[in-house]
């Protein structure tokens, strides 16, 4: 049943995302074509416009992905479509898991398309050198290489994004337990859930810092912190966010299993 649900959920989200993916890639391609035409002011202006549009599409992909997942969650579980969803012979946890797996898959694909858009629009030896020159000092300062720095950064962003998504789902579940102003309460509870996850993450790092002087330096000094401490904190952050993600998933399924109140 999970596979069948996933098929429909993914189809529903991708149906809209593919439009943004296509527009982004189309303008990335135009950017590349017009930038390749040399000594033409008009082509340069068109290339700048296309470049701007491609960049705005990158943000649209991320925002749309997030919003569509939340809207789909709300419509599927608390609006008219909920009358069909909750009467399907499927457990509540399977229904919820379908939404989470859809979220993870679509976010991965969006990140991939964003990477591809940037590659199509801007890949050139000079740009790669420029990127290296920006990241290399950071990598050198921390005795690391560019790839590791980029991967760590992307991984932290991904788990953070996943936690934001879950916080939104928590907000929608809790908000729809109220008798009125459900959308307002959903936003409020979602925001509170997100703040709680951040406070929890900082608290865990602070507790660890009580036993580790190096980590404590993050809280008490502004000076350059040792690379090993930074690595420890990045690993800790990824682990804590991953743990928070699974804890929230567990809590949301528990809340969901308690029953819904569909208008």
């Amino acid at each position: 049943m999970l596979r069948k649900l996933l098929k429909y959920d993914l189809e529903n989200i991708f149906k809209f995302l593919i439009i943004f993916y296509s527009i982004g890639l189309f303008f990335a391609l135009l950017t590349r074509v017009f930038f390749s035409i040399e000594n033409s002011l008009v082509c340069n202006i068109i290339a700048e416009i296309c470049s701007g549009t491609a960049i705005s599409m990158i943000f649209s992909v991320l925002i749309n992905n997030l919003m569509r997942l939340w809207v789909r969650f709300k419509n599927h579980f608390y609006s008219d479509e909920a009358y069909l969803t909750h009467t399907l012979p499927i457990s509540k946890s399977t229904l919820y898991l379908s939404k989470i797996i859809t979220a993870v898959i679509t976010v991965f694909s969006s990140v991939g398309v964003i990477g591809l858009t940037l590659f199509v629009a801007y890949y050139s030896k000079e740009n790669i050198e420029l990127l290296k020159s920006i990241i290399l000092p950071i990598a050198d300062a921390y005795e690391s290489n560019i790839t590791t720095i980029l991967l760590a950064f992307l991984l932290v962003l991904f788990v953070e994004f996943a936690v934001i998504l879950q916080a939104g789902f928590t907000g929608i579940i809790l908000g729809h337990r109220m008798n009125s102003m459900k959308t307002g309460f959903s936003i409020l509870y979602g925001f509170i859930a997100y703040i709680c996850t951040q406070v929890f993450a900082i608290m865990v790092i602070f507790i660890i810092s009580l036993f580790n002087e190096g980590v404590m330096n993050l809280f008490v000094t502004n000076s350059m912190v040792d690379i090993n401490i930074i690595k420890t904190v990045i690993c800790l952050s990824i682990s804590i966010y991953s743990i928070i993600f699974f804890i929230m998933c567990f809590i949301n399924i528990k809340l969901f299993k308690k029953g819904v109140n569909v208008d």
Partner: protein, 231 residues
């Protein structure tokens, strides 16, 4: 074992009690009318049975088991609003039902849709509300369920189609299955009912066999309802 049992069922919104200690039993092979004025708790009761609302207290048992996956396999529910994904075509919705409900008969659905001259290649969003409701009714009645729960099945349908819908209900539910129809269009459905349940202020005020009630009160169910709930 009774098909459906509600025991001391209660639902409150804050201090407002919408259902108050509902005790109800639905046997097999009956068509039951759940009748009441607007806002008396009919839809709330139906939604609790279908796991769309959480009861404040009490129990709902289907075939002796609490509401869950097993109860959803045997209940075919027609909500009062369109619950289908309107971006889908009718063909796709049929496929959806086929994938999720083991007891769904796609051939039967296509035959009923053809009878109603509904184009299965059309998107639901391009159909009128009445047409969407007909599609939904066909999907619900094409399941070989044990209990059909129809919430206002005639609400958005023109009078000429109402008879066809009632005949569809009569000729498409299984032997041994039961139907609960919630409506306030009593005169339209009276002819097909075996039993009636009158609900008012969140309480069941009357449960009776239709023929017995007509003989006892000397009038149609519609007249008895009007007399009982006169404003």
């Amino acid at each position: 074992m009774n098909l459906l049992e509600c025991k001391e069922l209660e639902k409150s919104y804050g201090n407002k009690k919408v259902l108050d200690k509902i005790n109800l039993t639905i046997p097999r092979g009956k068509i039951v009318g759940l009748l009441g004025k607007n806002g008396t708790g009919k839809s709330t009761l139906i939604k609790i049975i279908n796991d769309l609302l959480t009861a404040s207290d009490g129990k709902v048992l289907v075939n002796g088991k609490e509401i869950g996956i097993e109860s959803k396999k045997v209940i075919s529910y027609l909500p009062e609003r369109t619950c289908l994904d309107k971006t889908m075509t009718v063909d796709k919705v049929i496929k959806y039902y086929e994938e999720f409900y083991e007891n769904f008969d796609a051939e039967k659905a296509r035959k009923l849709l053809a009878d109603l001259q509904l184009d299965t290649t059309q998107k639901l969003s391009k159909m009128s509300k009445g047409m969407q409701e007909k599609v939904q009714l066909v999907l619900v009645m094409s399941r070989s369920a044990e209990l059909y729960i129809l919430d206002e099945p005639l609400g958005g349908v023109d009078p000429a189609t109402r008879d066809y819908i009632l005949d569809t209900i009569l000729s498409n539910f299984n032997e041994g299955a039961s139907v609960i129809i919630s409506t306030h269009l009593i005169s339209d459905i009276e002819r097909i009912l075996d039993e009636v349940i009158f609900i008012d202020g969140g309480k069941i005020v009357l449960t009776a066999d239709c023929d017995e009630l007509r003989n006892r009160e000397n009038g149609s169910i519609d007249e008895i309802f009007r007399r009982m709930f006169k404003c």
